[in-house]
C-alpha cells in the first residue's frame, strides 16, 4: 500500500466525482433532446394526418346530423347540473326549468345558453372553460344580505356560481335601499334573503339559491359551512366576524371578509389556503389579525356613523372578485390535509389543480376621500398561539357546536348610559310644557352640525358633543342660566350635563331623556326620522 499516497487517492476520488457529474449532465441533456424530438414527431404526425385524411368520420356524422336536425322541444341531452338534495332546515330555491335549446346530441361541456351568457368572461384566460366549470360546480355562502352581501351575491350569481347560499335574519327597511341594491321599495318588510333571491333569480335563474332566514348561530355554523366551498363575511358586527372566522377554520373553508363605514372600507382574504389548525402553511384567520375584540364602545355601526352606498358597494364587489379569482383558479379544490374533508366535486369532474401557492396575506384599505384611495398592506401569517388556527387552539368543533362559546360576551355589550339622577333629567313632554313657561332657559343641541342642519328645534343652540368640553372650557356657555341639553338618543346629552356641572354651572342643568327619538314618540310625530 506504500505505493499510494493519500494525495493520489484523493485526486482519484475527485476525478471520478467529476466524471459522474459530467455524465449525469450529459444524460440530462440527452433526455431533454429526446423529449423535444418526441414532441416534434407527435406534432408532425398529427399534422400529416390532418392534411391527408380530410374530415374524420366523427365530424362527417356530426355535420349530417346537424343538416338533418329539425328543431324540436324534446331534449335528451345530459343534464349539466347536479341534482341538489335539500339540506334539512334549508329551503331550496331551486333553479327554474328553462327551455332547453340544445339538440339531444349536444356534446359541449357547457350548454349553449352558458356559452352566450358567460361569453365575455369565458374568453378571458383568467376564467376560460375550466374556470367556468369550476364556478358552476362551486358552492358559495354569503353571510349577510346587506350593503356588502347584495353586490357580492349579484356578481357571484352573474358569474354563474352553481350554488349560492344567503344567510340573514333581518327584514328590508327603507333606510337600507340607498346601498343594498338587491332589495326594492316594493319589498320593504320582506325577509332580506327572500328579497335578494327574488332579485338574483331575475339576474340569473340558472343558479341554485339556498335561503337561511335566521342569523347565523354557533350551533349550526359548522353544519352550514361544511356544505360550501367558500364563505363571504358580509356581516356588520365583531360577534359575527369572530364566529364566521372560527367556523371557516374548523370547516376548512377560505373566507373573504370585508367591512365598511362612512367613507372607508377594508378587505382581507382569510384562512387561505385553509389548512387545518396547527399547520403554519395555512393563511391567517380573523383572530390572528385581531386576537382581542375591540371595546364595545368603539364599535360604530352604519346606523350611527353613516355610510356612503358606493363605498360599501365597492367592497362587496371586490369580495365577489376575490371569490371568483379563488374559484376560477381552483384554489378551493386543492387537498387541505389528510383528514380534513374538502369539497365533494363529484359531477362534471374538473381536473384538480396544483395546491395554491400561499401568497403573503395582504389587507386592502379603501378610503374614498384620500389620495391614493386604495392601499394594500402586508399582513402577518398565522399566529403561533391563535385560539382558533394554531396548534394550541382552544376553539374546537365541539366547543363551537355545543354553544359554549359566547361571542356576545366575548365582544362585550355597551351598557345604556345612566350618568344622571332623575332630578337632572326631564321627559320630552315635561320639557315641551316647561319650555313655554320659561323663556329664559337655553336649549343646547349636542348632535353633529350635519345632523343639526337636517332638523332642529327653533331657538336651540348647536354645540357638537365632540367640541363641547373645549367650548365650555372657553366659557362660551352661560353657566348662570337654566340649561336643557338634547341629542339624538339621550346619551351624549347626559355627558354634556356632567361637563357643565363640573365647570361650575349655577343654573339648573338637565338633559332631555331619550333625546329626539323620545321627542318624536311623545311630542312631535312629524319630527323626521333619519
Amino acid at each position: 500500500m506504500s505505493g499510494y499516497s493519500t494525495n493520489s487517492i484523493d485526486s482519484t476520488v475527485a476525478r471520478l466525482r467529476q466524471r459522474v457529474q459530467e455524465t449525469e449532465a450529459a444524460l440530462a441533456s440527452l433526455k431533454r433532446d429526446l423529449a423535444n424530438a418526441e414532441t416534434q414527431a407527435r406534432e408532425a404526425h398529427d399534422l400529416s394526418q390532418a392534411y391527408q385524411g380530410g374530415m374524420p368520420l366523427g365530424w362527417q356524422e356530426d355535420v349530417f346530423a346537424a343538416l338533418s336536425h329539425t328543431l324540436s322541444n324534446e331534449s335528451t341531452g345530459p343534464e349539466p347540473y347536479q341534482s341538489q338534495t335539500a339540506d334539512h332546515g334549508v329551503e331550496e330555491a331551486g333553479e327554474e326549468d328553462e327551455e332547453e335549446e340544445e339538440p339531444g346530441d349536444w356534446k359541449w361541456p357547457l350548454r349553449a345558453e352558458e356559452y352566450r351568457r358567460y361569453g365575455r368572461q369565458l374568453i378571458m384566460p383568467e376564467v376560460g372553460l375550466q374556470g367556468q366549470l369550476r364556478l358552476r360546480n362551486a358552492k358559495v355562502l354569503v353571510v349577510g344580505a346587506g350593503g356588502l352581501g347584495c353586490p357580492a351575491a349579484a356578481y357571484l350569481a352573474g358569474a354563474g356560481v352553481g350554488t349560492l347560499g344567503l344567510v340573514d335574519g333581518d327584514t328590508v327597511e327603507i333606510s337600507n335601499l340607498h346601498r343594498q341594491v338587491a332589495h326594492s321599495s316594493q319589498r320593504v318588510g320582506m325577509k332580506k334573503v327572500d328579497s335578494a333571491v327574488e332579485y338574483l333569480r331575475g339576474l340569473n335563474p340558472n343558479v341554485n339559491y339556498r335561503c337561511y332566514r335566521e342569523h347565523l348561530v354557533p350551533q349550526q355554523a359548522l353544519e352550514v359551512f361544511s356544505a360550501y366551498d367558500l364563505v363571504l363575511d358580509c356581516t356588520d358586527h365583531p360577534t359575527s366576524r369572530y364566529l364566521i372566522s372560527d367556523a371557516c377554520v374548523l370547516a376548512g373553508k377560505p373566507l373573504v371578509s370585508a367591512s365598511a363605514l362612512r367613507t372607508e372600507g377594508q378587505l382581507i382574504v382569510l384562512n387561505n389556503p385553509p389548512r387545518r389548525p396547527g399547520d403554519t402553511d395555512g393563511g391567517p384567520c380573523y383572530r390572528c389579525v385581531f386576537p382581542k375584540p375591540p371595546p364595545a364602545e368603539s364599535v360604530v355601526s352604519c346606523g350611527e356613523g353613516g355610510i356612503l352606498g358606493p363605498v360599501v358597494g365597492a367592497m362587496g364587489v371586490l369580495q365577489a372578485l376575490e371569490a371568483i379569482k379563488l374559484i376560477a383558479r381552483g384554489d378551493h379544490l386543492s387537498t387541505v390535509s389528510d383528514d380534513t374533508p374538502m369539497a365533494d366535486s363529484t359531477d362534471g369532474e374538473v381536473p384538480s389543480p396544483k395546491a395554491p401557492t400561499a401568497s403573503p396575506p395582504t389587507m386592502l384599505l379603501f378610503s374614498a376621500y384620500s389620495s391614493p384611495q386604495f392601499r394594500s398592506i402586508r399582513m402577518r401569517s398565522r399566529r403561533p398561539n391563535c385560539a382558533a388556527c394554531s396548534a394550541q387552539a382552544t376553539i374546537t368543533p365541539e366547543s363551537l357546536t355545543s354553544g359554549s362559546l359566547d361571542y356576545v360576551a366575548f365582544c362585550g355589550v355597551t351598557n345604556p348610559v345612566t350618568l344622571l339622577g332623575q332630578e337632572e333629567r326631564i321627559t320630552p313632554s315635561d320639557f315641551a310644557n316647561l319650555a313655554l313657561a320659561s323663556p329664559d332657559a337655553v336649549l343646547i343641541d349636542v348632535r353633529d352640525t350635519t345632523q343639526f342642519e337636517l332638523c332642529n328645534l327653533p331657538g336651540s343652540i348647536n354645540i357638537p358633543w365632540s367640541k363641547f368640553p373645549d367650548v365650555v372650557k372657553q366659557e362660551a356657555v352661560p353657566l348662570g342660566k337654566d340649561v336643557f341639553v338634547v341629542c339624538k338618543l339621550g346619551n351624549d346629552s347626559q355627558m354634556a350635563v356632567k361637563v357643565l356641572q363640573e365647570a361650575g354651572s349655577t343654573g339648573r342643568v338637565r338633559d332631555i331623556k331619550g333625546g329626539f327619538r323620545a321627542w318624536k314618540a311623545e311630542v312631535d310625530p312629524s319630527w323626521p326620522e333619519y
Binding site: 366576524r241 367591512s259 371595546p295 384599505l365
Partner: protein, 105 residues
Amino acid sequence: MADNIDIKVEFTGGLEMLFSDKRNHKISLPAVDSDGQPANVAFLIKYLCENVMKSQKKDLFVLDGSVRPGILVLINDADWELEGEDQYELQAGDNVVFVSTLHGG
C-alpha cells in the same frame, strides 16, 4: 445626532376624529425618549397622546399602555407585527398609519 426625527403619521377608520378630524400629520419626534433610548413606536404613541390628541376619549386610542384592540398599526405599509411592534425604532421619513378596523356592512 439630529435632535428630531421627521415622520408622517396618518389616522384612518374614524381615528382621525380623535385627532382634530385631521388624517395626515407631520410629526417631528424627539430622536430619543426621556431615558435616552432611540425613539420607537411605543414612544410615538405616548407622544401622540400627550401632544397631538385633542379628544377626551383617550381610551378609544390607548388601553393598558398600548393601542387598544381593533387598531392596526402599519409601518411603511406593513402590519407592525412584521416590524417588531412597538419596539420598532423610527427612522426619518417613516410612514406610520393607525387604522381602526371597521365592522359595518
